[in-house]
Symmetry: D2
Subunit: 258 residues, 4 copies
């Protein structure tokens, strides 16, 4: 019998008393709007952040469009003809967090171009491995928050969560939360007026479904991150790229020709 978890589970009963104050989370808002313009998506992201803050999680927030980050699939695009690239610094903030929550608006039913750029740049770092020889994002947890005025939370969630798991993030249950109005033009999350008319309250703030899903998303990313933290990340047995390249195959057997 191989010893898999024995060392991995450095189970700290004190730390496990319930608080999440050993965790950190980075929220990356992929709005198309530069600061200080108001981002509807950020309003809902703040609801999740407030929960995490209350639970002791250290928070970071990046509005990607405020930074000079060229598109591309290399770690540093200044080596490919771009004058500036803040990605290396932003990547440090992202990779040190236990949790990554991507926020995106919806345009034509799809996540924003800024969200796709983020995924491309995250992917650009996927050559790296952690100290166990796993892909660099292993042991971390991802979620997303999507807002739009009419359609596409699930489609955008699908695309973002898929990318995150493909990179190595764990996706907890119900890791996508969002808000949408009825089909057609309409106010966006948090708007207090629409077509010149004052609304009696900010749109979506009282929405039971959105509030519940945002809460569940927030707790589920915390739970998984806490669990992985306590056991020292995902055990490397069977998923170490470095070891695979060295010829290790664990229980894998080639399918038989017959």
């Amino acid at each position: 019998m191989y010893v898999l978890y024995k060392q991995a589970f450095k189970f700290n009963h004190l730390n496990a008393m319930g608080s999440f104050n050993n965790l950190s989370a980075v929220f990356v808002n992929c709005t198309l709007k530069k600061s200080p313009q108001k981002s509807h998506t950020e309003r809902l992201m703040r609801v999740a952040q407030q929960i995490m803050h209350k639970e002791g999680v250290r928070l970071d927030l990046i509005r990607l469009v405020d930074h000079k980050v060229p598109p591309g699939v290399f770690p540093d695009m200044t080596e490919k003809g771009w004058e500036e690239d803040e990605w290396p610094t932003l990547f440090e903030r992202i990779i040190k967090a236990d949790i990554l929550v991507i926020g995106s608006p919806i345009w034509l039913g799809q996540k924003s171009s800024v969200a796709q750029k983020l995924i491309e740049r995250l992917y650009a770092m996927s050559d790296k491995t952690n100290e166990k020889g796993q892909y660099i994002y292993y042991g971390k947890v991802g979620g997303c928050i999507i807002t739009g005025n009419e359609d596409g939370v699930k489609h955008c969630g699908m695309s973002i969560l898929y990318s995150l798991q493909h990179l190595g993030y764990v996706i907890p249950p119900q890791a996508d939360a969002g808000w949408l109005g009825e089909i057609g033009p309409g106010p966006s999350y948090g708007d207090t007026e629409w077509e010149g008319k004052k609304l009696d309250k900010p749109v979506g703030f009282d929405h039971e479904f959105t509030n519940r899903n945002t809460t569940f998303m927030a707790y589920n990313v915390m739970h998984l991150a806490e669990i992985l933290k306590q056991i020292g990340g995902l055990p490397a047995y069977g998923n170490s790229r470095d070891q695979w390249e060295d010829g290790k195959r664990w229980g894998f057997q080639k399918p038989q020709t017959s």
Copy 2:
């Protein structure tokens, strides 16, 4: 401070010595082909199954198309005018497994109609909650295996994994594995001839990338399932639907109007 994990982590050092022999997994093959026709997707599913078998996981395999399962979003479609419905029995096999791996072929770049039917029927049960008041699929782990002759592993994976996490499954890193040939018509996974010509070996069996990803997928669903099993499923703090409906809000606060 609330006590979160203290009881949850009934950490059993002996059980954690590395074997996965307390786990069970159900593979649902969503091929369009009835038995005994050969399913390309099933060939690759068996590679993952063989790994799990070696690690002691109890395995079950359902070829959905072999069963009389009508489409629909109700637990038992005989109540909606269908003569037969084997779903209730199949659901028992699925819900008792710690791991669900969905296999699907690709048609026009999409998962099969049988895979979508499976998701609809799984969704039909999502009113149910577990003993913690969480959605019924909480605490379980999902993955997928996709094969096609030319295009769509990621797109199908996206759709299946999204659905699984939405229902309550945890999605581990790199939970999608598959095989694809070059664009255009061509042999499918495991084929030994194409257009009347004998091939020197079954297509894809030696494919390093497919074999590695299948291995990683298999181990990652086992790891997450084992971890969740050891800690008694996902802690219910912050994600119990029943408690939310009773008014419990944990750290959630309504966004402020100002």
Copy 3:
């Protein structure tokens, strides 16, 4: 100069006086509900049908789930172990219509399993060519109508329209129409009560955006179908599969190696 349209444009000024009464359209409703259960999607499909009816288009409506149509990618699945297959008859009704409008509900953000089955069966016929040697669906026009209670019109539209163009249908502008309510559980299109409460009018019937898009969709499929009808389908210069297989390449030149 090759003569391309000279014969193709058998332009009939009388016929072109504005009526569409030489056209036929088949609507395939991919609801999961068997007749006589009410289909929300069918309610909106009927709005488009009423427009077409007024314009003189001959209409046919198929509710696919009412028919014994197995999944599969062969023209007749009784040759693959299924007892019954009504597809060959249904295909005749579909292929003789100038216009195909697919209706689908949304489940977990995706088109229904029945819609995917329809696409698989349509695809199964794509070996056939028309009298010009083009794929069998060339010269026809496609659109879709999607309803759900909260999310996914665009995503489902994307998938259905893509499949149709891939098969050979022309997709006119704004060929997708639909209705969605706010995010979360809620009434579906045409519902007159929700959670036991009577609503003052059927949901969505007055929705300006849905009504406009349904109207534009209906007219745009008619316009394109009428145009193609008048010119005898799509000219075959440059797109005949049969001619390509015979070695014809038109203006194509292999990319140069240098």
Copy 4:
């Protein structure tokens, strides 16, 4: 009977003798690579361009990443805090062409961030209407070319073609062409070496399926553009936004409450 096509069909028999030399096409390459780096996607786009050139179509090519175009959904982003925006000039080049072909690489199974940015900026202009009161893109024709090394042509095509039809472009049959290698890392379209090894010929250049689909795509966008040109664009009966806003409803009737 209303008169629909009578004036619309200013059918010019001479012009219809077969040449497409009254047409113009703009190709927008959404590679992430700045010039003069080689774009694999552009190589395949040039195959389509060469066909169109031979048929007399005037061609324009934009590599979007070479231009200072911020993300956003406004016509000119310098009004929203960005220093420069070349979009207004680029839009002029796009809107005057009869045909728009979008090229995109694939990253994590999705179209590039640059392609999504293009769609956002095209969408930003959708308030505009043409002289018939239709959306500004009506009467034009769209297609796409996608390349990747392993997976995603259909998924990217789905997303791009959907967006184009939603904006008002007509999508002809089989309007997506592309190239993909086998799953996993590998050379991209046109590469002449891989992992340090010289290949005997550029990858994909001889690929029958890719060449055929690229040819069909090229001809089908030309055919539809030519047809629409000859009849003066899409007739406005039933699809004029301006007229709808003025209360015109054509054959539309509100669904009845009963």
